[in-house]
Point group: C2
Chain length 284, copies 2
């Protein structure tokens, strides 16, 4: 049996990471979990996000993954150390790779970060940038309306999308940011609209690509890859999707994120997720 790459998100957004990993490592098997019964995480407390993310990891662990990707900025920002403590396989987040890519592109900054309320409140991007480049200025902005705007399926040239982005991005534009990190997996779907507001000279860092590179490097180093990086003509690994609610909506909206039909999808209700006690919480 081929061991899969496990990937989870609060809902659909992590499918942009699935898409990037599939492109980078087409031969690998993928198991994805989207917590659609409890989405969004971005307005919730670190304690609750950590609990939900730990439940997602326990579900993925049943498939014996080679590693788990927290394809959710909020979970990466608030829960990564707690998840690493609980799991036997590497748990990779999306924040450090995104920051590394932004700094590689524009080492002098200033770096702009747009993300959910919870991610900005966690300070995780600011800390990651300070760790990698202490002198670089960071301008962060929480953008609570962008996730529902993407989920509603608005097109990038919708005037409401434009007005909302102009408001959210104004402090970044005023500060003359040299690059902007899209700190939420939903935001790549708004890339053309964000570029239209910030202009063509500001690179937009979509951490999905950086995460895919990081996963390839890590699994390659561990000797875990099913094949070396696949070229044309190689077999494509299987994928499967699990959600805690509404598989029909996942199929329907998920295709937009994935760029391919999101099938097969299996429902795992929240009471099943919560049924296994948390070993760390039990012990404390």
């Amino acid at each position: 049996m081929q061991r899969p790459i496990g990937i989870f998100d609060s809902g659909l957004g992590g499918l942009t990471v699935v898409r990037a990993i599939r492109r980078r490592l087409p031969a690998e098997a993928i198991v994805y979990f989207g917590d659609t019964a409890r989405v969004p995480y971005g307005i919730k407390s670190p304690r609750t996000v950590t609990r939900f993310a730990a439940e997602a990891c326990r579900l993925l662990a049943r498939h014996d993954p080679m590693c788990i990707v927290a394809a959710c900025n909020t979970a990466s920002a608030t829960a990564l150390p707690a998840l690493a403590e609980r799991m036997d396989v590497p748990v990779l987040g999306v924040i450090e790779p995104g920051v590394a890519q932004a700094l590689a592109t524009c080492p002098a900054g200033p770096i702009g970060v747009i993300a959910t309320e919870a991610t900005v409140a966690s300070g995780a991007y600011r800390r990651a940038i300070e760790r990698q480049a202490p002198e670089v200025r960071v301008i962060e902005r929480a953008c609570p309306l962008l996730v529902p705007i993407v989920e509603e399926g608005r097109s990038p040239d919708d005037p409401i999308v434009r007005a909302v982005l102009e408001e959210y991005l104004a402090p970044l534009a005023d500060a003359g940011v040299a690059a902007v990190v899209l700190g939420c997996t939903h935001y790549p779907l708004l890339k053309p609209a964000i570029a239209a507001v910030l202009g063509p000279d500001v690179p937009l860092v979509d951490s999905a690509e950086a995460v895919a590179d990081g996963v390839a490097a890590r699994l390659g180093a561990d000797g875990c890859l099913a094949h070396t990086d696949a070229g044309a003509g190689e077999a494509v690994g299987p994928w499967q999707f699990f959600v805690s609610d509404n598989p029909d909506r996942f199929r329907e909206v998920g295709g937009r994120f994935l760029g391919a039909p999101a099938e097969p999808v299996t429902l795992v209700p929240t009471e099943t997720l919560s049924a296994t006690p948390d070993p760390v919480e039990e012990a404390t």
Copy 2:
């Protein structure tokens, strides 16, 4: 011990119903539960909404309430019969009272309804209007951005609020609606902005008031009220609040819905909510 009125919602919105009930029946005790760990319900499936609502009712049942109000349109639209089947006390929704009030105001229609995706998809408002007045035309519109806009704390004269409302309300205005039901407990906070778009001649029906009247009538008929309708100088009943996440955010944002400090607040994590098995689901 004074038996309370139990009230629940997916989050903060139901506090507009608490406020109306407190004004109508000031002497009554109130116990409120907001499912802030799993908010919003409006994008989730009927099965999941029913499960979450049943857990909320079981939590409230521990306080021996005289009745339970589903102060959430989505739960009222999708879960009311299932809740009534599970509980020994009356479970009252917000849809029938809102519809009755709209029809009392404008018996010939057409009636506009704005609500969440799940509420519109349930068809509950359309069916309720058809039941009470089969000849009245109904124009429904799902408004997914309004809940996050209210939670973000935007003022009614914010240009983005105005633009979003103009788009959502256009089909209602074009149809010449005679009244509009605010089919989500968040929407009363946008009343001035909605009125600005629709004009002063279209009554906006906030079901919170209608629900408060319905609760007073029902408990009065059952002989349950602590006092008859309270006048000036009477004692004010105690209230207490429970949330499944983020009591600090509840205190902070909740005051805007309640018009008074939302205290005391107690955290009840989701694993506690899910711990008691559902008697109906167990039996089937």
